[in-house]
Every structure is written in structure tokens, then in C-alpha cells.
């Protein structure tokens, strides 16, 4: 048996390298690494405001990350989180004026469901293209990201533009479909509950349903499907629907909880980070919220570095990249140590 001490040593080594590599760049920028890490960790984890912002960013990251995890479990690489988030948000904003007249929790619920449906429709389209024509979902989702971005640019200057027709943004959604603030004096909204519920639902789906089982079978070995009589095409479409739907839900949550209207840069580029979130969680839904918090630290920490330590914020992307690499290295080393015969 490999010693636990060896594993521990390896863990410490990796943590040290995570700290050391970005330190070189911080030194090169003429700043003190200690001050930088102090600012980064001090603000994000030790202040109320900082941590609240981390949670705010972790909400969409969790939802999209769960979507990525669903797809990856089935061996489908959904890189389209950003596009699905945008389309989900557009769909729910488009119907928001009608939902506003509904009783309070019902309108909000419908708002979220429409967001899920919007992202899900875009995802299902990708799944169908793949199942029907064998289209590569990576390429299709990346391309659709640009289509969705252009769609957003158009709708906020066209059909969904605010009534004054001055600013490139949509009308504000009715207050009745907004997600209420959950923690006073912060932006933490009830989307947190949505993210937690989605996490639990997905855990149950993976563990206890026939659909979750089929998904893991085709993810493990696609060629088994015809032998076992599993309809892998249908499973692919279903999976992309759920995966895109979760990203779309994230879009609706961002609108209902934070922005209350569509604007050019509301999407925040969470899609790519969500892939790292899902992979670092090893596609385990219960771990996704925690890795999402980690990436929330990077998002919020970037601002803190610039503000408090006067360090150019791209340093935080170097830290983020180092963490991902270190995780991969750790994973590879652990895998090698326990490689099957």
C-alpha cells in the first residue's frame, strides 16, 4: 500500500507550487506576494462583503457546473454554457411582462422554468444535431455561443429594448418575478436556494434513477448501448436538454436575482469556468457547489487584488490556471498510484 504520508507530502507539495508559481509573477510585477495573497484571501474569505460576493458568483457557477457535469457524465462535451445561459435569460425576460401579473411565487417560478426551457431548447438542438447527423457538439456549442451573444446584442437594441429606446438594455422585469435578497446588506439572493435544490435533485437523479444510470452507462462505454438496448440518441438529446436547461436556469436566476434586466455584459463568462468547476468536482453534483465557491474566490479576488494591493488583476487568472494545473497533476499522480492492472 502507498503510504498516507506520501499522499500528504504530495498534497503539501502541490499547495506550495500553487502558491509559488503566481508569486513569481507577482514579484515580476514588483509587488509583494504576501500582501497579494493577504488581499486575495483576506477579502474573499474573511470579510462579510467579500464572502457574500463569492457566494453570489458561486450561484451561477454551480448551476452551469451542474449542467456541465450532467453532459460530461454521458460523455458529451457541452462547452455552450454561456450561450445557453444567454438564451435562457432572453426567453424568461421576453415573457416576464405577462408573468408579472401572476401571484407572487408562481410568476417567479414560471420565470425560472422558462429560463430552463430556453437554455434546454438550445441544448436539445445540439443533442439532436449530434444524434441525427453526428455533429460534433464541441464545435456546435462554441459556435452557438456566438449566435446567442449576437442574439442578445440584437434583442436589447430591438424587440426587448427599454421603453425609452435610448440605452442598449431591456426593460426591467416586474418586481414580482425578482428573486428576493436572502441575506441583508448583501447581494446574496434566493437563487442560492435554487442552486442548492438543483444540486440535491441532480444527486438523486444520478444515484437513484434509471435515467441517471443510462447516462453513466453510455458515458462509460457508448458501444454497450445497442447491446443493452439503451436508446443512446434519445439519452443524448435528454441530457443536452437538462445540461442546457441548467445553464438557462442560471441565466434566469442572474436576471431575477441581480441584474433585473438584460444588458450586454450580464453573462459574465461563467461558461468556461463552469467546465473547470465540474471537472474539479469530478462530476459529483455534491462537490460542485464547493468548487464553484473556489472559483467565486477567483472572480471576487481579482477586484480585491487590484484595489487593495495595487496588483494587476490578471494575476488572479494566473493563480486560477495554476490551481487547475495543480489539480490535474494531483489527479494524474493519484491515478497513476492506484492504476488498475
Amino acid at each position: 500500500m502507498k503510504s498516507v504520508r506520501g499522499d500528504l507530502m504530495l498534497g503539501v507539495l502541490i499547495l506550495l507550487s500553487v502558491a509559488a508559481v503566481p508569486a513569481l509573477f507577482i514579484l515580476a510585477a514588483g509587488k509583494s506576494p504576501v500582501a497579494a495573497y493577504g488581499a486575495l484571501i483576506g477579502y474573499t474569505l474573511a470579510t462579510f462583503n467579500g464572502f457574500a460576493e463569492v457566494v453570489v458568483h458561486a450561484i451561477p457557477l454551480t448551476l452551469i457546473g451542474l449542467g456541465v457535469a450532467v453532459a460530461f457524465r454521458g460523455g458529451i462535451f457541452n462547452i455552450g454554457g454561456d450561450g445557453q445561459l444567454i438564451v435562457g435569460a432572453i426567453a424568461s425576460v421576453a415573457v416576464a411582462p405577462w408573468l408579472g401579473r401572476m401571484p407572487v411565487p408562481l410568476g417567479l417560478l414560471c420565470f425560472l422554468v422558462v429560463g430552463f426551457a430556453g437554455g434546454g431548447a438550445l441544448g436539445a438542438l445540439v443533442g439532436w444535431l449530434r444524434a441525427r447527423f453526428g455533429a460534433n457538439e464541441i464545435i456546435v456549442t462554441i459556435m452557438l455561443n456566438y449566435v446567442a451573444l449576437q442574439l442578445l446584442t440584437w434583442v436589447i437594441r430591438g424587440p426587448l429594448q427599454e421603453p425609452m429606446r435610448i440605452f442598449p438594455q431591456s426593460f426591467a422585469i416586474p418586481a414580482t418575478v425578482e428573486l428576493p435578497v436572502l441575506v441583508a446588506n448583501s447581494r446574496i439572493h434566493a437563487g442560492l436556494i435554487v442552486a442548492v435544490v438543483a444540486t440535491l435533485v441532480l444527486f438523486v437523479v444520478f444515484r437513484h434513477t434509471a435515467y441517471g444510470f443510462r447516462l453513466s452507462v453510455i458515458g462509460e462505454n457508448r458501444s454497450v448501448a445497442p447491446f443493452a438496448g439503451i436508446n443512446d440518441r434519445r439519452t443524448i438529446v435528454q441530457t443536452m436538454l437538462i445540461s442546457g436547461g441548467l445553464a438557462g436556469l442560471a441565466g434566469a436566476v442572474e436576471i431575477a436575482g441581480i441584474h433585473h434586466k438584460l444588458q450586454d455584459d450580464f453573462a459574465g463568462g461563467y461558461g468556461l469556468a463552469a467546465i473547470a468547476v465540474a471537472l474539479m468536482a469530478r462530476l459529483n453534483p455534491l462537490a460542485v457547489p464547493f468548487t464553484a465557491l473556489l472559483f467565486g474566490v477567483f472572480y471576487v479576488g481579482a477586484g480585491a487584488l487590484q484595489r487593495d494591493a495595487g496588483i494587476p488583476f490578471p494575476i488572479v487568472w494566473i493563480i486560477e490556471g495554476t490551481v487547475i494545473f495543480a489539480f490535474l497533476a494531483y489527479d494524474a499522480l493519484m491515478h497513476r498510484a492506484t492504476a488498475p492492472r
Partner: protein, 514 residues
């Protein structure tokens, strides 16, 4: 005994010597205190049941695994391999049971792969062609460097593997189950090649379950059981029964014969004018018509690639036929094509020829592997909700009923040896009380004891009234088990005829007819 068997010189020192090799995976000892010597020009046979530790030992020699204890001496000097590349550099080549070729690449590209001589950045395929082509010519092996490996038959793929190993000029060549997938002709060709290599002073180690492979071609045999060498012997004057006793440690129960049918046979599948196309559009099955009856074993034989695989995939609901009709005489059957899940529910089970590709999920536990083909059963799947407890109990029962050697229902499939994986597949497929069993090469690559077990199980199902379609490359097996036999050649089916009314020669002739 066999003439022309090369005589190695046992003078001087052995080419390779293993001293006290031990290797454990977790708590299981795969190898225990193994001593072994191989001499230049020798063909050494290694026998043992599935899971006896043969493959582990060979992987240690070939540098894929490093031993926990013990040492490896090459020409009397201790060596330590940290990768297959080291072993290859030291002159050890290995051809694995499951080929390590890349299907989408050409033969030349596969041979060049991982071999620095043919260039690190740019490949020097022209000089590869010249040198390896010359090597192939001296050995009398035909090779087309430009064909994609996917397009080759299994036998041809194996020749590419061997050629790749030989292109690195090894002094020792290890062949793991080289004949498992070969036809009789290909098998004879392989052993001619091996004898030729041995004459050129190369040492060859052959692992095989087929006792004939060892008896006819090796001078010495080493027998392994549960990780240890239990016997080693010169083969002169030994017969098949001696070898069986050495491997199993006892005499095997006789294989069940084919008693006369007690019940009147009724058709279970009627196939009319069935045509199946491959994914690339070529005709695989060309207008097949026949019936499978109850209480019978219908043997189907043919040289690989003549449409048998596609016939079976069409009958078991894995692919849709291009035209023709398949009617299943099962209760509740509907018209039209049905997928494998539907057919299983009706009582048709399938033991596929490529276990790793179709029948198992290596990295998932046995419970998942079991549930995979029983997902439609209310017992395990209640309106979309899994009942894991019920699956677990069923798997535990299946493991003990079929004597599958496994740590438990939660063990990963990859932890089981090949023979135990096959037993598990059998247990799983028989669990739905099938009326029709389609079994493709069900004993391929298994040891003698497991082969006897699998055959007994099939014959038991036959006695209970099931109809069994047995696809086998082993004519001996067809003759021992089948009531009727059909032959496939170039997509057309010949027969079926009663085995008692035909001869091996006839069938062999039909197999090669165009």
C-alpha cells in the same frame, strides 16, 4: 512427437531469468515467488487458468508493471524496467491478447508509433516500409502498409502486432493468447512463423489456454495456479490429459454430449431472406433463411468476416436489417424491428463475441454491469427509480450460483479475470430465463475448466427447452455441442444440416467456398 520443433541449446546461461518475482494488487497476490528461465531459441509454453497470474507475469517482463519483490536477469545481468520502452530497448517484445493498435491509423503508422527510429517529429515512413517490408518478406508475411487497421481482420491485425514487435529486433517475444481469435489456417501460419523465429535463436514465450498450442509447438511448459508456478515439465511424451491434470490439478468432468431430444422441437426464430449491411454500406448478410428450433444447439461457423457477426447483431436487435424478416416465436412479440432491451424482455439473451466492447463496463461495479441489461425489469426499476438493494441481492446470488470469483457485488468488473467476467456475463444473461440464447464464441480465451462450465450451462439451458444459436470458430466445439450446423461464407448461409449427417471436411470445405 512433432517434427521440426527447434531444439534450443540449454548450455551456457538462459536469456532471461526470473528470480522470486512477487506482485500484489491491494490484498490479492497476483504473483508469488515465481522462478522462470527462458533460453535462446526456445519456445516456452505457459499454461494456467484465467486469473492464474500469467498476464501479470508477462507484463512484468515486458516492463508494464514492476515487481514488488524479486529480480529479472537478462543474460545474467540484473535489469529493471520502468516502462515498456525500456524492455523493448533491452530486446523484449510483447503481443498482447487485446491488441494495442490504433484503428484509425494505417499499418505503417501503427508500426512507427512510439519507435524513435522512424523519426520523432516527421515520420520516415519510406525507410520504415523498406526495412520492415524486408523483414516481412524474409518471414514470408504479406503486409499492406497503407491499409487502415480498422479494415483488417483480426488475424491480419495480429500479424501487424507481431511485425511491430519484430521490427524492434527483440531477443524475446511474448505472445499472450495468440490463437484465441485465429482460424485454423491462420493458427498454423502463426506457428510456422514462430518456429522460424526460434530457429533464428529468438526465444518465444506463448501463453495459451489451448492445450494443443502448447503440446504441438513447445518444448517445455510452465504451469501456473493462483499466482505461483506449480509445475514445469518437458513436453516430450506428454498428452492432452496430462496437461489438463497439470493445469486443473484433477480430472475434469466429461463434457456433456448431445442426448436425443426428448421433446418435439418447435421453431423459436424464423429468418426469411434476411439482408444486413455494414455501417459502410457493404453487404454483410446476403439473403439468409433458416429457423432456430427449441431444444437445440444450432452451430454457426465460418471464417471471421463472412457475415456471422452481422447476422447475430441483427438477430439480437443491435442493428436493423436492410431487408427480410425475422420472426421470434415468443409470447407478447410485436411485428417489426425490436431493440435488444425489448427482445430480452421477451426471452432472448445474447452473449456477444466482443465482451469488452459490448457486454461489460470495465470501470463500473458488478451491480451496474448486471443492471445494464435488466433495466426494464420492474424488480429493479420502479417507474424510473432504481432499487439498488434488489440489484445488489440478485448480483450476490448470481455470483455464488455461477461460481464467479469476485470480491463482492461492488467489485469493479476490471478486477475480475477474463474467465470470471465471462461467467458473470452468462449469469446475467441467463437471469431472465431465456427461451433463445445467442452465444458468440462463448468460450474464446477461457481456460479448460471455465470452458467446461460454460458448455455445461449452455447444455443445461438446451435441456430445459431453450434454442441456442452458437457461433464458434472452433469446429471441435460445434461438433461436441451442436445438433445442427450452418456455415456462413461471403454473407451467404449454407445449411443448417444435422451434425450427424455431415463431416468436418464438408464444413471446412463450405467455409472456404466462395
Amino acid at each position: 512427437m512433432v517434427e521440426g520443433r527447434p531444439v534450443p541449446s540449454y548450455a551456457g546461461r538462459p536469456l532471461l531469468e526470473l528470480v522470486g518475482i512477487g506482485k500484489s494488487f491491494g490484498r490479492t497476490a497476483a504473483n508469488r515467488d515465481v522462478h522462470l528461465d527462458v533460453w535462446p531459441g526456445e519456445i516456452l509454453g505457459i499454461l494456467g487458468e484465467n486469473g492464474a497470474g500469467k498476464s501479470t507475469l508477462m507484463n512484468i517482463i515486458a516492463g508494464l508493471l514492476s515487481p514488488d519483490v524479486g529480480k529479472i536477469l537478462l543474460n545474467g545481468e540484473t535489469v529493471r524496467f520502468s516502462s515498456p520502452r525500456d524492455a523493448a530497448a533491452a530486446g523484449i517484445g510483447m503481443v498482447h491478447q487485446h491488441f494495442k493498435l490504433i484503428g484509425s491509423l494505417t499499418v505503417a503508422e501503427n508500426i512507427a508509433l512510439g519507435d524513435a527510429r522512424w523519426g520523432r517529429g516527421m515520420l520516415r515512413l519510406t525507410s520504415l516500409r523498406k526495412e520492415v517490408g524486408a523483414l516481412a518478406a524474409t518471414l514470408g508475411v504479406a503486409v499492406d502498409f497503407d491499409r487502415r487497421v480498422d479494415d483488417l481482420t483480426v488475424g491480419e491485425q495480429q500479424r501487424v502486432e507481431i511485425l511491430r514487435a519484430l521490427s524492434r529486433r527483440p531477443r524475446l517475444l511474448i505472445l499472450d493468447e495468440p490463437t484465441a481469435v485465429l482460424t485454423q489456417d491462420e493458427r498454423l501460419g502463426l506457428f510456422r512463423l514462430i518456429a522460424d523465429l526460434a530457429e533464428r535463436r529468438m526465444a518465444v514465450i506463448i501463453i495459451s489456454h489451448k492445450l494443443e498450442d502448447i503440446l504441438e509447438n513447445c518444448r517445455r511448459v510452465v504451469v501456473m495456479r493462483q499466482g505461483s508456478v506449480v509445475d514445469r515439465a518437458h513436453l516430450a511424451g506428454r498428452n492432452r490429459a496430462d496437461l489438463v491434470r497439470m493445469v486443473v490439478g484433477e480430472d475434469l468432468p466429461a463434457v456433456v454430449g448431445s442426448p436425443e431430444r426428448a421433446v418435439a422441437a418447435a421453431p423459436l426464430i424464423t429468418v426469411e431472406n434476411l439482408t444486413v449491411r455494414r455501417a459502410n454500406g457493404t453487404l454483410a448478410v446476403d439473403g439468409a433463411s433458416f429457423a432456430l428450433l427449441s431444444n437445440e444447439v444450432l452451430g454457426v461457423c465460418g471464417v471471421d468476416g463472412n457475415g456471422q457477426s452481422e447476422l447475430i447483431q441483427a438477430l439480437t436487435g443491435m442493428v436493423q436489417p436492410a431487408s427480410g424478416r425475422v420472426h421470434y416465436h415468443l409470447q407478447g412479440v410485436r411485428d417489426g424491428w425490436q431493440d435488444a432491451a425489448m427482445l430480452r424482455r421477451l426471452g432472448l439473451c445474447h452473449i456477444p463475441e466482443d465482451r469488452h466492447r459490448h457486454a461489460i463496463l470495465a470501470d463500473l461495479p458488478l451491480t451496474a454491469n448486471y443492471l445494464m441489461t435488466h433495466l426494464g425489469r420492474r424488480e429493479f426499476n420502479w417507474r424510473g427509480w432504481l432499487r439498488r438493494r434488489a440489484v445488489h441481492d440478485r448480483v450476490a446470488a448470481a455470483i455464488s450460483a455461477f461460481e464467479v470469483r469476485a470480491p463482492g457485488p461492488h467489485a469493479r468488473m476490471a478486477e475480475l479475470s477474463g474467465g470470471n467476467q465471462q461467467k458473470f456475463v452468462l449469469a446475467r444473461e441467463f437471469a431472465c430465463a431465456p427461451r433463445i440464447i445467442v452465444a458468440a464464441h462463448p468460450t474464446r480465451g477461457l481456460d479448460v475448466r471455465t470452458i467446461a462450465f460454460v458448455r455445461r450451462q449452455l447444455m443445461r439451458m438446451r435441456a430445459e427447452g431453450a434454442g441456442i444459436l452458437l457461433l464458434s470458430a472452433d469446429l471441435q466445439e460445434i461438433w461436441e455441442m451442436a445438433d445442427r450446423v450452418a456455415v456462413m461464407a461471403a454473407g451467404r448461409i449454407r445449411g443448417p444440416v444435422a451434425v450427424s449427417e455431415t463431416t468436418l471436411q464438408d464444413v471446412g470445405h463450405w467455409m472456404t467456398a466462395r
